[in-house]
């Protein structure tokens, strides 16, 4: 890579690495430390092809790489997750908002990896159905149905806490 490529990669990291790290945490349900390892691995792929992709939407390429890696990692972690998150936390929480957030995240983690990724991309990254579909390599219809089913599962499990979703 040229010096210009290297500098552009550094600028890209400065602008995007935090967002990619957050996406990885949400999609794979890992700790920040584990997610950082995953993101470094994914960004090495981006770096490898940087000269070619830097002028052609590197953000999309990087996000796709991170999401795919996070989905794979999530599948490997699934058994652990189900043990860890199968039950609501027993600790009493005074703040109902915090309690609800924790419950939502717990249920989000219980979803299948691709379904969870759809919810993260649609509602946290705020991508459109078409953008999410392009990133995940599926149809917009699949994104729509996965999002609807994911929300329905969460609503079913968490709805009793709040009773107002719908």
């Amino acid at each position: 890579m040229t010096e210009e490529d290297e500098a552009a990669f550094d600028e890209f990291l400065a602008a995007r690495s935090t967002a990619l790290l957050r996406t990885a945490i949400l999609v794979c349900g890992a700790s920040a430390h584990d997610a950082e390892d995953l993101v470094q691995h994914a960004l090495e792929k981006v770096y490898r092809h940087w000269s070619r992709i830097r002028h052609d939407n590197p953000e999309s390429y990087a996000r796709r790489t991170v999401v795919n890696a996070a989905i794979s990692a999530s599948r490997r972690r699934r058994v652990i997750q189900e043990i860890t998150f199968a039950r609501p936390p027993e600790t009493l929480v005074d703040d109902p908002d915090v309690e609800l957030r924790d419950a939502l995240l717990a249920e989000l983690r219980r979803l299948p990896a691709r379904m969870r990724a759809v919810l993260v991309l649609r509602y946290w990254e705020d991508l459109s159905e078409a953008e999410t579909a392009a990133l995940m390599g599926c149809s917009a219809g699949t994104v729509k149905s996965q999002a609807a089913r994911g929300l329905a599962r969460i609503r079913e499990r968490v709805g009793t806490l709040e009773g107002v979703f719908g």
Binding site: S17, R22, L26, V39, E44, R101, L151
Partner: protein, 271 residues
């Protein structure tokens, strides 16, 4: 409030305090260098596996020689001096290595002090004994590269490197792969592929050895590829030795071949 909004808020709150560290770029580049070693070795190994349509392996020793056509390619006989290496002017010694590996402009030792390279075989000392063989000869001035992998190149396989002092971590001067069992059978298949390409084994120390230049691209043997020796040492045991193109460039073509021959001759199975 709608569930989508609550969920978005929960996700936002969960990661709001997460920030990528300032060392992300250095960490990514370190991984890239570490991967360079694996992929170069894998490339050299795989290059021997898929050889159909590759350029003839034989290059004249004379300076300025070009790759001959397949029909004109000389086929060295057993024991005859092989004519595999173009004689390039020796390059001045530098502390850099392969040009295909991007140097990290911020190159520095790992901040946390942890080894960036795999250590599958543990501390090999001088690195000469592993995988059931001992390398009795190595070019002068090299030291063990302090990393190793097991089964990266098939089951069962072992690999490590030796380096010139001053090379950056992740670079190599000489790399060896020991193949056993299934991996040895795959290596034998690769040698068949060499033969189909026009290579004839030369006899070194009683073994029939393929000396070729293996390109980076899978299946390609190129004029500027990695100088490689591949042979079957015993049933179920094959060995591959590579000199990095940079190191070979400093040695010159004739000395590169001499060193490869000495390494082959010096190899002993240890059980």
């Amino acid at each position: 409030m709608r569930l989508e909004e609550e969920l978005a808020g929960a996700m936002e709150a969960h990661v709001a305090d997460v920030h990528a560290g300032p060392s992300m770029g250095a960490a990514v580049r370190r991984r890239h260098r570490a991967r360079g070693i694996r992929s170069r070795t894998a490339g050299a190994a795989l290059a021997t596996a898929v050889v159909a349509g590759a350029v003839p392996a034989y290059l004249a020793l004379d300076a300025g020689a070009t790759v001959p056509s397949e029909t004109a390619a000389p086929a060295p006989g057993l024991g005859a001096p092989s004519a595999l290496w173009t004689e390039a002017p020796p390059a001045p010694p530098t502390a850099t290595a392969d040009p295909d590996t991007t140097a990290d402009p911020d190159a520095s030792p790992s901040e946390d002090g942890s080894p960036a390279m795999p250590q599958d075989l543990g501390d090999l000392g001088d690195g000469r004994r592993f995988g059931g063989v001992r390398f009795g000869y190595l070019p002068e001035g090299l030291k063990w590269g302090e990393w190793s992998v097991k089964n990266t190149f098939g089951t069962t396989s072992y690999s490590t490197t030796w380096v010139e002092p001053g090379l950056e971590p992740g670079m190599y001067s000489v790399q060896a792969v020991v193949y056993r069992d299934g991996a040895a059978r795959q290596a034998a298949e690769r040698m068949k592929g060499y033969r189909k390409q026009g290579s004839e084994a030369v006899v070194i120390g009683g073994e029939r050895v393929h000396l070729v230049r293996a390109g980076e691209a899978v299946g390609k043997i190129t004029e500027d590829g990695t100088p490689t020796a591949l042979w079957t040492e015993a049933p179920g045991l094959a060995v591959e030795v590579m000199l990095s193109p940079d190191y070979a460039g400093r040695l010159g073509g004739k000395e590169t071949e001499r060193e490869l021959r000495r390494i082959v001759e010096g190899l002993e199975p240890t059980g």
